[in-house]
Amino acid sequence: RLGELELDDTEDVSLDFGNEEELALRKAKIRHPLATFFHLFFRVSAIVTYLFCDWFSKSFVACFVTILLLLSFDFWSVKNVTGRLLVGLRWWNQIDEDGKSHWVYEAKKVPSNLAASTEVEARIFWLGLIICPVIWTFFFFSTLFSLKLKWLALVIAGISLQTANLYGYIHCKLGGQKSISKVTSRFLSQQMFQRVSF
């Protein structure tokens, strides 16, 4: 009987080295380098241009248009490209035949293939998503109090575009099961307890 369990001499035994590209991809910390770059590029350029616009150009109009275009490209790329590539989430607005509009939030089921995103990418994504609206809110107050009101429209546009993406992706992440306010309050109370018990 043992003979039957042994491999026939003519059978092929394949040695599986694995596709070398696949192995490299498996080990890589960042699988979508272009997407990661662009996710941060537009946001950071908009902030940098706003801070140093006097150095770049004397014209208010040129700065305004440049920052506005950067913010719009950032909004589009984060909403349509980097979200689904880096964290597998997506949100959009859909209008039915009877004219009702509703917002759809989609999350990719956990994939195990090589195109899945890594932890590093996800961390970069969320950090970029959260920090920038905070910076723009800070700009809002500084513009308001220094009375440079001609920039106010731009800052408000920046805050709304970036906060819209932030809100949309948090909604996707939560999967619409719990309300955002409940999760935020629970998170904040956890943070408070951790600090108090220190």
């Binding site: 506005l68 209008i95 004219g99 509009s101 990719k108």
Partner: protein, 233 residues
């Protein structure tokens, strides 16, 4: 077999139609075969995820084509679901920025800051559109907030064309004839904008409120036309 049963039924007392069939038995040798098909739902869940993995160029081209299609629909206004259902705000942004750029007064030559005029036009267009949308929603309109912004923004296209024409005319002739030409062009484009936007928006309102909705749109495009007409370089 069934026919024979029916035949015997006719001759005698009228029996209920299928009474004899209870005696009919199917021989076990006859194979019973057939198909049971369950009609598939129109969209399986996997189809929705197909655009989740598409390459970026596809996304860009798709969005650009959608924007271009909407521009065409504005120039030839007829019932189109493209403007209403697949709204986007890229067209309005481009139109608003180009109109604001063209409405600057002598920014290139003078040392004065052209800032206020640029931001003014911007704020007028966006704030005006938001106010009209709120107005139509308060009057009970069924259209959504962003849909309305989309339509109002895209319908600024004829006025942007009027601005281009006006600037060209001003390069050639700043006298009375030039003014009359500009007046005619602006009035024509203003009419076109207002008609195009009411064609899309008025349907979503109850019939007795149509005038209440059309009037702010009229005012909005009137203000923009006024800015275009009174522009001097």
């Amino acid at each position: 077999m069934a026919a024979a049963e029916e035949g015997s039924g006719h001759g005698g007392v009228a029996k209920p139609l299928f009474a004899g069939l209870s005696d009919v038995s199917i021989s076990e040798d006859i194979p019973v075969e057939g198909e049971i098909t369950v009609p598939m739902g129109s969209r399986s869940p996997d189809e929705d995820y197909s655009t989740l993995d598409e390459p970026v160029k596809d996304t860009i081209m798709r969005d650009l084509k959608a924007v271009g299609k909407k521009f065409v629909h504005v120039m030839y206004p007829k019932k189109s679901s493209a403007l209403l259902r697949d709204w986007d705000l890229w067209g309005p942004l481009v139109l608003c920025v180009s109109l604001a750029l063209m409405l600057q007064r002598g920014a290139v030559d003078s040392k004065e800051d052209a800032g206020p005029q640029f931001a003014e036009v911007f704020v007028i267009i966006w704030f005006g559109a938001v106010v009209i949308t709120l107005n139509s929603k308060l009057l009970g309109g069924t259209i959504s907030f962003f849909q309305s912004l989309c339509v109002l923004g895209y319908c600024v296209l004829p006025l942007t064309v009027a601005m281009v024409v006006c600037r060209l005319v001003l390069l050639a002739d700043t006298g009375t004839i030039g003014f009359i030409v500009r007046l005619i062009v602006v009035i024509a484009m203003f009419g076109w904008s207002t008609l195009a936007s009411t064609a899309f928006l008025a349907d979503s309102q109850p019939p007795n409120r149509k005038t209440l909705v059309v009037y702010p749109i009229f005012l909005f495009y009137f203000v923009i036309s006024w800015m275009i007409l009174t522009f001097t370089p």
